[in-house]
Amino acid sequence: MPDNSSGEFGPLSLHVPEPAVRPGGEPDFSNVNIPEAGSVRRPPVDANPEEIRDLAFSIIRVLNRDGEAVGPWAGELTDEQLVEGLRHMMTLRTFDARMQIAQRQGKTSFYMQHLGEEAVSCAFRKALSPGDMNFPTYRQAGLLIADDYPMVEMMCQIYSNEKDPLKGRQLPIMYSSKEHGFFSISGNLATQYIQAVGWAMASAIKNDTKIAAGWIGDGSTAESDFHAALVFASTYKAPVVLNIVNNQWAISTFQGIARGGAGTFAARGLGFGMPALRVDGNDYLAVFAVAKWAIERARRNLGPTVVEYVTYRAGAHSTSDDPSAYRPKTESDAWPLGDPVMRLKNHLIGRGVWSEERHTQAEAEILDTVITAQKEAESFGTLHAGGKPSARDMFEGVYEEMPPHLRRQRQQAGV
């Protein structure tokens, strides 16, 4: 038993952080400090990290409340590129909606959607060059959509059907495509972050020109792999962009549990002498501009950058949880950075290159494209019906050459 009978300072107590509001309460984001769009300075790409420490505590924003692109980070993208970006985000959202329903229909076991976070991966992909490599988590499918990876293949993977490029070995949405610069998603958390740094180190060792991008969520920054990645990246000045997607929630755990006493996740980079930028993750233009800045820094051999995307997971973590059990149902509506699709749409309308009619038409076209892809994918089977990978595939690919013990087991299994 503790002895608290004496002592100068009284008994100790444990601090367990709590989110501002729980279910039943009024959503409250008054603690999220949102600077005016266009108010955060844009340092040169070769800036001394020590001189831009303030960027780890602000939020770089381009689109203002009126949908105008303002400030020093604006003006990076043409109208055509912005329309394409909008279409990518809309495609991802529609794809998610269809796959979410397919999971509910029992066509697959599991799904994870991006609702509210579409801008982050869609815009980042467009700032990369061919040959660069992403080490993603499970919520960056925009990297594939924006790189024109075939949707049918994504769906075949989700359905684990006979055309699944991963032969039914991986959970739905754990895509892998070397050709599209998309490293195999693990499903374990944070492991890919240090691997991204290793890949970038290899590129530097070989005097290549390619760079890597690591991805992690707010919750997983607590893993030791995150810290190892920052140590290695800063020690070897690896050509890597270390992305932190802060969507406020790690399943049911609010980001304050992982963040500890630090003001922001980006600030983690400061202790390693790295530039660390925070950006409005629901602002396609801001995400692109910051990604471009960090990618150029890596490509010019100036070393790693930490980027925190401030966003909000509007949907559930996955098809296996109900967010109303741990946060107010209306919290998503109260999120102060709005919806990335609506914001870009309004911006384009303001620029006179988009309209409500074109948007409605695009929605219909995209839905049609997604449904066509879905029909094709389903013709190759779904998890419990139709064509599926063979049991023989289960034994293949553990090693390049199957060792004798696996051959015996395959024989025993009769496949």
Binding site: M174, S176, S184, I194, G198, W199, A202, F232, P403
Partner: protein, 337 residues
């Protein structure tokens, strides 16, 4: 032929491969400028430059995680974990990542890395410098696990590991670095310069993974051993006048079952010896395989001589270590059984 220590042979293997293949990179704690705490990488940085051989932060998870990323890029990383006892922070990267990358990506990404680590006791290293964690790796699909017992094999197996397309755990019995060790700790050390297996050919050669070798032909019983225990078994057999067939497994995964079954079918008796703890140790797998494949030829129960199921102690090192006396008793009992 030149005679080398196991340290020199291991260094020679890395040197040979770094010379032949620009994609081979070597790193780990104290590995670069200093050349490793056991000196296995001594001189490699001076010869190949510090982007090919370099010091790493004290972060085993970081070392292996970075190596996996490098392998995904197309390099062939050979990393050193300073002691096998320190590998656990890297265990997730090894088990969940390196071992499964080929499988989960359907060959889109592969992981040809070698993770070297000194293992085993006999140097008064206490519980944090003496462990033999091989069974923690043989239980993992997708890894290969190698344990050399002499300089000749160490070089050939390490080259084969570096040429292998899949991840290899390379456990170096540290008590064998400077000479064979039969468990008689109170006797003078025999250097490798006085042992024929200290003969290490120059240049490139391989000892294939997955192939065991008979160190001693015999008729009375079969001993399955690897690493340091090969010499302990040899001493125990000789001191007790037993005509033992001693098999040095060399690779635990994939295992050379054929050689094991052929021998035990002939002798009808089998003693398994390892330094690692008993329960769920690799000996349990060997015993199960032997009874499955040689049941009708067995004249006696399969015996296991291993470290006790305790942490590796410091002062009681020689009470823990399965030395020639304990092995000898097991051989005699198995002959009587």
């Amino acid at each position: 032929m030149p005679r080398k220590t196991m340290i020199e042979a291991i260094r020679d293997a890395m040197d040979t491969m770094m010379e032949r293949d620009d994609n081979v990179v070597v790193f780990g704690e104290d590995v670069g400028f200093f050349g490793g705490v056991f000196r296995c990488t001594h001189g490699l940085q001076a010869k190949y430059g510090k982007t090919r051989c370099f010091d790493a932060p004290i972060s085993e998870g970081g070392i292996v995680g970075a190596a996996i990323g490098m392998a995904a890029y197309g390099l062939k990383p050979c990393v050193e974990i300073q002691f096998a006892d320190y590998v656990y922070p890297a265990y997730d990267q090894i088990v969940s990542e390196a071992a499964r990358l080929r499988y989960r990506s359907n060959g889109g990404f592969t992981c040809p890395i070698v993770i070297r680590m000194p293992a085993g006791g006999g140097i008064f290293g206490g519980q944090t410098h003496s462990q033999s964690p091989e069974a923690l790796f043989t239980h993992v699909s997708g890894l290969k696990v190698v344990v050399p017992s002499n300089p000749h094999d160490a070089k050939g197996l390490l080259i084969a590991s570096l040429e292998d397309p899949d991840p290899v755990i390379f456990l170096e019995p540290k008590r064998l670095y400077n000479g064979p060790f039969d468990g008689h700790h109170d006797r003078p050390v025999t250097p490798w310069s006085k042992h024929e297996l200290g003969e290490v050919p120059d240049g490139h050669y391989t000892v294939p993974l997955g192939k065991a070798i008979k160190r001693r032909e015999g008729k009375q019983l079969t001993v399955l051993a690897y690493g340091t225990m090969v010499y302990v078994a040899e001493a125990a057999a000789e001191e007790n006048g037993i005509d033992a067939e001693i098999i040095d497994l060399r690779t635990l995964l994939p295992l050379d079952l054929e050689t094991i079954v052929e021998s035990v079918t002939k002798t009808g008796r089998c003693v398994i010896v390892h330094e690692a703890t008993l329960t769920s140790g690799f000996g349990a797998e060997l015993a199960a395989l032997v009874q499955q494949h040689c049941f009708y030829n067995l004249e006696a129960p399969v015996a296991r001589v291993t470290g006790w199921d305790t942490p590796y102690p410091h002062a009681q090192e020689w009470d823990y270590f399965p030395g020639p006396a304990r092995v000898g008793r097991a051989l005699l009992e198995t002959l009587e059984g």
